[in-house]
Amino acid sequence: MRFWVALAGRDAEVEFRREGDALVLEMEGRTLAADFRRLPDGEVYSLLIDGRSHEVRVSPAGSGLEITIHGATLPVEVRHPLERLLQATPQAAGRGAGETIVAPMPGLVVAVRVRPGEKVAAGQPVAIVEAMKMQNELSARQGGVVSEVLVAEGAPVTVGQPLVRLEGSP
């Protein structure tokens, strides 16, 4: 599994995988052995990183997370690494011109939530794409009227593949 974590002005991609009993982390070119256990006492983890022992609290805070470590509380955002790609994807044209919802990652279309002709509000979910065992809800950014649904539920999609097209509301 791979995540993109932003915290205190720092940005890092973290990948981890199980190797037998061991959990192996990769970050910034380094490989670390980890062990991770939720304490019976609330939202707290005991984390062993290359043997170093840390007690870390992870709590929800607004739409993100908050990490408490050694008394300090840090807001953190965890994102899909492919979200970086989105930032490179050309922006849809200005308001009123319509938008195209594209797959932000390779995956499987789990659900399409809209039908042609339907009106969609800004922020309204239009489809769910599953990738890396996670379901990602895709929403309209500006909203509009659905002009085309380009994929069926169950279909595999690739990065950037258009899923739904909206015509802009005037």
Binding site: L7, L74, A92, P125
Partner: protein
């Protein structure tokens, strides 16, 4: 001799808990009072009995004199212990207790009144032959008189409200050009805050240490000094860390300070526990500052090195008995430090914080004492002092005590309200603190909030923990504006998450 059996504690928080502990050990009945938001505060849970005293704002509960005394009478209290703050240095309250037939655990009302007036206290100290900071003999009536005094003693100087206290009603004047403005402001403040605009003038000691002597006197006019406390580490006149003994005193200086404190105490026939405060200048000379006619927040460091229980001594002398140790106080042993743990955010100009204590694991083990007013799940109310707990350590010498305090601060788990643990860790690790280079300007001169921002390993571990948590909770992840170019964090749909609230 009266026998006191039922003691009402007219206070809350850690000091109420502290007093309850001693009452329990003496097999006396502890009676708590509580304001509405304090219904399940720790002192209510721990006391033998507890009675409501009114709504949250102090004036309607802990500072509601009539209600307090009426409650004490109704529940048949023999005595009232005021703790510190609230009614602790209120001569009228002490008198009202006496009138209601209830023992006030503290000095006689007249002593409180005399020493509460800073000019009268200065006069008492002068009569006792104790050095004073050079300044006006009494209140200065007018600006031109103030100019004369200033010319005599020189700048910088301090303007002080005669009725002031606790760091309020005082102002530094660096040179003659500042005098007029400062004069007007200080008088106005004094009138507004204390209803008394008398102001006097003292020379300002630059980079002084704040050193105080613990005194205790009994009804037989026996008086003892139980050593000094170094309280220089302050922020806006609020003490943050105290220790005993003071590194700035040699045995001869220590003896002189103790003698001066006893002189003042004898002069006023001091009864009970109190503190004589001094400023110590870089040359090692000390000057009388004021007398606090109460148990101090920082009294535990004195208890750690002497082995005495100062609350028990207060109770003894309130009953008319002599001090427990006879004529000679126990020889102090080792070194003790106290860190005040307050609900203030050092990263946001020490703004007070309220909210629920989400997690709490106090440090324990050798040489560690906790005096606490909180427990896990407790909601810190907004109405009162930000002091949550005190962490006190003892060790054989200053460096061992410092290391032990740092160990305990690192062990401290306190989550849910902003607090100053990171600040205290910074302080205790600072090379200048380790070298005992202290003055009341220590924080001002050395503290930079950047220095307590987490860094290095902590940041890296936080990043890894966030990613691992994300892996654990991979139930449903939404990219709410994934189709746009803006950054947006994932939202977590977590079936397992319990309700939790973070105080901001």
């Amino acid at each position: 001799m009266v026998r006191l059996r039922r003691i009402l504690i007219a206070n809350r928080g850690e000091i109420a808990v502290r007093i309850i502990r001693t009452l329990r050990e003496l097999d006396l009945t502890s009676i708590a009072v509580f304001s509405e938001p304090d219904r399940v505060a720790l002192h209510v849970l721990m006391a033998d009995e507890a009675y409501p005293i009114g709504p949250g704002p102090p004036g309607e509960s802990y500072l509601n004199r009539d209600r307090m005394i009426e409650t004490a009478v109704r529940v048949k209290a023999d005595a009232i212990h005021p703790g510190y703050g609230f009614f602790a240095e209120n001569a009228d309250f002490a008198r009202a207790c006496r009138d209601a037939g209830i023992e006030f655990i503290g000095p006689r009302p007249e002593t409180i009144a005399t020493l509460g007036d800073k000019l009268a206290a200065r006069a008492a100290a002068r009569d006792a032959g104790v050095p004073l900071v050079p300044g006006s003999d009494g209140p200065v009536a007018r600006l031109d008189a103030a100019r004369d005094v200033a010319r005599q003693i020189g700048f910088p100087l301090m303007l002080k409200a005669a009725a002031g206290g606790g760091g309020k009603g005082m102002r530094l004047v660096r040179d003659a050009s500042e005098l007029e403005t400062a004069w007007t402001l200080t008088r106005g403040e004094a009138r507004a805050a204390f209803g008394d605009d008398q102001v006097y003038i003292e020379r300002a000691i630059e980079r002084p240490r704040h050193v105080e002597a613990q005194i205790v006197g009994d009804a037989l006019d026996q008086v003892a000094c139980l050593g000094e406390r170094e309280c220089s580490v302050q922020r806006r006149h609020q003490k943050l860390l105290e220790e005993t003994p003071s590194d700035a005193l040699d045995p001869a200086g220590r003896a002189r300070l103790a003698e001066a404190a006893c002189h003042v105490a004898r002069k006023v026939r001091y009864l009970g526990a109190g503190t004589v405060e001094f400023l110590l200048d870089p040359a090692g000379d000390f000057y009388f500052l004021e007398v606090n006619t109460r148990l101090q927040v920082e009294h535990p460091v004195t208890e750690m090195v002497t082995g005495l229980d100062l609350v028990a001594e207060q109770l003894r002398v309130a009953e008319g008995a002599s001090l427990s140790f006879g004529e000679t106080p126990p020889e102090p042993r080792g070194w003790s430090m106290e860190a005040r743990i307050v609900a203030e955010d050092p990263l946001a100009r020490f703004m007070p914080s309220a909210g629920r204590i989400e997690r709490l694991r106090l440090p324990e083990g050798p040489g560690v004492r906790n005096d606490e007013g909180i427990y896990r799940g407790y909601d810190v109310p907004v109405f009162y002092d930000s002091l949550l707990a005190k962490l006190i350590v003892w060790a054989e010498d200053r460096e061992a005590a410092r290391r032990r305090l740092l160990r305990a601060l690192n062990e401290y788990v306190l989550e849910g309200v902003h607090n100053n643990l990171a600040f205290q860790r910074w302080l205790v690790s600072h090379p200048e603190f380790a070298a005992a280079h202290l003055s009341t300007r220590f924080v001002e001169e050395h503290f930079d909030p950047d220095s307590i921002e987490p860094r290095g390993e902590a940041i890296e571990v936080a990043v890894l923990a966030a990613a691992l948590h994300a892996g654990e909770e991979r139930l449903r992840v939404a990219l709410p504006e994934s189709n746009g170019g803006e950054r947006s964090a994932w939202k977590w749909g977590d079936r397992r998450r319990r309700a939790g609230r973070i105080a901001r």
